[in-house]
Assembly symmetry: C4
């Protein structure tokens, strides 16, 4: 559906980044987001909130008003309204104004306004940081390929944490801080990830022995996600270097030594070596 008149102009300014007006709008928006997040941080610092409370409160509502108007304008001028509302950006745009209104009901909710930070992701589109996006894509693709392996890995880590946690609860007991199995599982996660706060730590000899075992296991399996991601990333990077596109189905990602397209079987053109 083609837009006309005011809606078309608004769409170009708000969604577009090609016209000078559209670009200025986006730059203005990003600054507004960053400043409003900084405001939220400042509000949370007691001393500052005490002295400038009124001002900060007013400013917060100014920004919330601004973003609310912007949100409804976006819905108004979107090509496909339903699609925008349920898109990633649409949901983030909504979440970025909701906490202010929720704060009227629940104290503290306004601090969740930091979710506005996610809106800054638009910066990629504005500054046309294509090379950065491409690197982000490689990272995401590698993580995506490693998805199932990482899931299997986390399932095993969690099962181990539950079993070690229950063991420590039996061995150490509530008088050394292991007051319940869920809390002991929390301890096991703190230990196996090598964070080690020390708010709960084993006191008995047997407990320290089990803890030592937990640590050594954590130390050893820390290698597994690294191995997975590295192996996938290495494959991705190797693929990436090969800007090798099939002339028939125009899909890329062929190996360096490929002579035929792996997707359609078409003979590939000679590979110019780009790096």
């Amino acid at each position: 559906m083609a837009l006309t008149g005011r809606r078309k102009w608004l769409n170009e300014v708000i969604f577009g980044t090609d016209t000078p007006a559209g670009r200025r709008f986006d730059v203005f928006l990003i600054w507004a987001i960053l400043i409003s997040v900084a405001l939220v941080l400042l509000v949370s610092v007691e001393g500052i909130a005490g002295r400038h409370g009124e001002l900060l409160f007013a400013l917060e509502w100014v920004f919330t008003g601004l973003f609310t108007v912007e949100y409804f304008l976006r819905i108004y001028c979107a090509v496909n309204r339903r699609q925008y509302i349920f898109s990633f950006y649409g949901i983030v745009d909504l979440l970025a104004i909701l906490p202010s209104y929720l704060a009227l009901l629940f104290t503290g909710a306004s601090y969740l306004l930091v979710i506005r930070l996610l809106r800054v992701l638009r910066i990629f589109r504005v500054l046309k940081l294509v090379r950065y996006l491409r690197d982000a894509n490689i990272l995401l693709r590698s993580l995506g390929l490693a998805r199932r392996k990482i899931l299997v890995f986390y399932a095993s880590v969690l099962v181990m944490c539950v079993i070690f946690g229950a063991l420590m609860f039996v061995v150490e007991g509530p008088k050394h801080g292991f007051t319940s199995i869920p809390k002991s599982i929390y301890w096991a996660i703190v230990t196996i990830t090598t964070v080690g706060y020390g708010d709960i730590s084993p006191q008995t000899s047997i407990g320290q022995g089990i803890a030592a075992m937990t640590m050594l296991i954590g130390y050893s399996i820390i290698a597994v996600p690294t191995g997975i991601v590295t192996a996938e990333l290495a494959t991705e990077l190797r693929h990436d270097r090969t800007l090798h596109r099939c002339d028939n189905c125009s899909r890329a990602g062929h190996d360096r030594d490929a002579e035929y397209c792996k997707h359609c079987g078409y003979k590939l053109a000679e590979l110019e070596e780009v790096r």
Copy 2:
């Protein structure tokens, strides 16, 4: 030995996953396991145990009774009884009911019921999560190949921990928390794995110097298991590609998503998912 009559039907329901009844049985079982483990966690939380103690206690025995009956039925209808009893699942099934009975003798043993969690591994078979199993296999195979290297590595780490522990015991002494060499070894493990609880920490200058050295060594050798696992995993992943062989030119090394041979353009056969 072929089973007949009731034993055959029971075997199909309890061990099998192909008939609707067998599938329903397994799904029911997994929920029962998850709920009973959740019960154990709840029992350990003081507040909840105080208010609903009787109910939780009763439920625990209901599940234990259920699993006990199931265990004996499994033995009754197994094709080869001895083989089932001493198989991995057979032992886990036994361990999953034992703690309840042990709890009659030793208080606290009932918390070990979390071992029931291991029974959930059956979920792989039920949901036919073949792709997940395959990824788990790659992980296990890599760890298996790296077995000896990791053993050599842990032996060296433990020897280092003993020597550093003894050194710190001599330097810091009992008045700074290093009350015995085993406890100092515990400190060395906490430090070298970079967990760092801080429940025991060096107070003297020399002790802090030795601790700094221990940390830097730990920081550096944390790289070794990662290196081992990554190298083996990369080989495994490459090996995975090697299994994909063209029927025409019989050259391997195709990507997982390849449909045509990259060397001769011939259509590749379907890659069967499990090995």
Copy 3:
């Protein structure tokens, strides 16, 4: 511009490392730097400062005087004065004497003299540690290639820390140590990097649940920079082999210790060490 007379001789001694005098000067300089940094460390230890305060104070000014004279001599005899002043070494040379003079205005500034340590980087040039420089170059080049990916990664980590920090501030609140969002962000960084001081740690069940999630995420994404650097480093190391080319069959990819071409058996030319 060629230098003549005294300036030329000074330039050879101060900047050069080829004449015996120039070499002796640099060795003397490095010792002076190391001793003066050691002095700064000693001054900061209360007991020592109390007993030998006067002596240490005098020595500090001796070294500062020495380095000040040297700095102006360097400017005097530099081939291109402006270029030296704004070069990396020129700035470090200035920073290495400034804190002493600043200390006349602000107490404590003199401790910043440790920045002198950066001057020791000259040691690479003096000892002609070419092989070390080459390895440093490989490391720097790998990090350079991974630059954009690491930036994208850090941006995501920081966004996550801000959001988790705000969440914990709302959940735990000031009475458990999370006194403001910036402080909660500090906690999130301490947790996600697996440092885990334990000076601030969650006390409520929900808080501990969120903390556990933060840790598991940190544990998992710790793999990403490793993967990036490893993949780039592996490419760099392979590239290093690629430079070793046979003069006969002009195929590259020989090992560093290869003496004969592995493809045609021809004697390889000496591999020049620096690139």
Copy 4:
């Protein structure tokens, strides 16, 4: 020099592992070492030392006497005495008895007897654990190849720790636990290696900001040694798989695709694929 008579027989028993007597001697020795180290650990536990002090003291001297006699017998029957005394094992054998005699002069020295643990390395030779030795060799060779890169890396980490330490000393000062620059450097090492005891932690906002930066840097450069070791290990593993030995100079370690020996230029025999 060939040995004769009693010296020859002793040499076969003490140094050899081929005769039944030599093998039995080594097995006996390893048990003696393990038991004597276990004794040292027990002595350090206060409760046990109090109850069985006399017995443990006596046993310690029995083992020291045994090892002293063994040490002099080794010198007596060595083929080349000077070579044995200054070999790695000769020095470890001496260090394994010295602390007992030093303990007559300095209290506490006897705990250093744990150094005896290093003697157990002989186990490799006794059990002919060739495959394990080979894996240990691969690890050591990788670390050896990465030596220079790791040194450059540690030099930079230490310089960074000194500079961050001095900065924190100025910012936080003695009243928050940063009592001297060496202690602040200790804090920087604890933080950058992600150990994080929490015995010293920043209290001011600026200090926490600098600490957060230190952590993020530590988190990022933790990737570098891993990358180095992984890259070298991957190369080593690839080499290892190729059991490819030149018939002329009998040196191995050629690439899979090598046709000529890289050391002497001799044509290599066909490679049988062993894995």
